[in-house]
Subunit: 238 residues, 2 copies
């Protein structure tokens, strides 16, 4: 099997990869396509190779906010890895792309058969937990501009690209803020020459400056990931 573009799969040991390979099914993920719904049994998990998937928390009241994003560095369906069959999160395509899907029962079987596979995925789950808690921190302590800078950097890492295709409206929903708030924040970042924005596209111009603009809201999760998956790190940071 050729090593996948998905970094989590690629960093598996050869035997573990071989365990999953026969059951991986290529899948194109489009925007807003739902992969998991809250309180509903997860049928398949998903390893993105391009594109981004959003994990969204919601309240009974109907409020929503993005808890984290997953790209080619990880996988969806962590509930399965944790031994459950569902989660209280929504999960859907945010930036369209390709990936590999895997039946949840196959994954359970593989995990039961290979402790090292389980360990590997649990480590990713821990990193994802870090991402969520850093999101909680950013939501509570950072302003829109800082959170936007964080989001763009994280998306860029996970896409392996300096360009992100997204509308203001979508970003506003993910960040849990007002749409014109995103417009204004993007203008601020443009003034600082950290990014350039056109209709539906945001490009990173000066990554270092953009990291500075995030004022500490970006970096902890990425450092955690780099520590646990050293081989992937350069690629993820590229």
């Amino acid at each position: 099997m050729p090593p996948s573009q998905n970094l989590l799969l690629a960093s598996l040991s050869a035997p573990d990869r071989a365990l999953l390979a026969p059951h991986l099914v290529p899948l194109t993920l489009s925007i807003r396509q739902s992969l998991e719904k809250p309180e509903q049994t997860i049928e398949d998990v998903y390893f993105p190779e391009s594109g981004i998937v959003s994990i969204v928390a919601q309240s009974p009241k109907g409020d929503e906010i993005e808890a984290g994003i997953v790209g080619r560095e990880g996988m969806t369906g962590l509930a399965i890895v944790m031994g459950n069959h569902q989660s209280p999160h929504q999960c859907y395509g945010q930036v369209g792309g390709e990936g590999l899907s895997l039946n949840a029962n196959r994954l359970r079987a593989a995990i039961a058969a290979s402790p090292s596979l389980h360990r590997h995925m649990l480590l990713f789950a821990q990193v994802f937990m870090t991402q969520i808690s850093q999101t909680a921190l950013a939501n509570g302590r950072s302003n829109i501009t800082e959170r936007l800078a964080r989001w763009i950097l994280m998306a860029s890492d996970r896409l392996g690209s300096n360009e992100v295709n997204l509308t203001h409206e979508f970003l506003a929903v993910m960040l849990g803020v007002r749409r014109p708030g995103v417009t204004i924040a993007l203008h601020l970042l443009e003034e600082q020459e950290t990014i350039s924005a056109a209709r539906g596209v945001i490009s990173i111009v000066d990554r270092r400056k953009l990291e500075a603009a995030s004022r500490g809201s970006y970096g902890v999760t990425e450092a955690h990931y780099a520590r646990l998956f050293p081989t992937d790190a350069p690629a993820a940071a590229a």
Copy 2:
């Protein structure tokens, strides 16, 4: 071994409990006592029997915010359960109390010896992940009063008591808001006759009304917990 006051331990199967029992060491936790520091090897995990422990996320800039709390329904040191030896979180006593500590290596050995023990703790880890993402949601979407109501309810569950001993200052740090903001929010909740507050003590007066005052920010985590640990649920909700 008498079943512990810690609900996670109490809900273990008898053999799994027996596996841990010889290594559990009673420990009194005082306020602000640190149990884990970010990027530092975790020596012991901790099962509270009373009191509350805060898990706090921090940014390189020095900003802090509470990602979640743990009481007698759970445990600290989930990083060990996930196969790592550290986490990027702070972890310290928030409301003083008693508990049982367990050496991290002993825990690792027990997990290796008993898949069912591992499964059990991973399910708690999944619930805790839910708690963190709901915190992210509350931080982004709820106002101070709602978040405060949520915090009081969660603390009450985890303490098994209607009274919580805490200063405004402490709450302000945890919620990531200004101290007088907490004072004002508490007054609002008092006006609604949901709580009564005295110097350093908050008492729940009308739990239903307080839940309503949280406007949907409370409940998702607790429902998730109740689904996975059915026997504990009545106790945790009492």
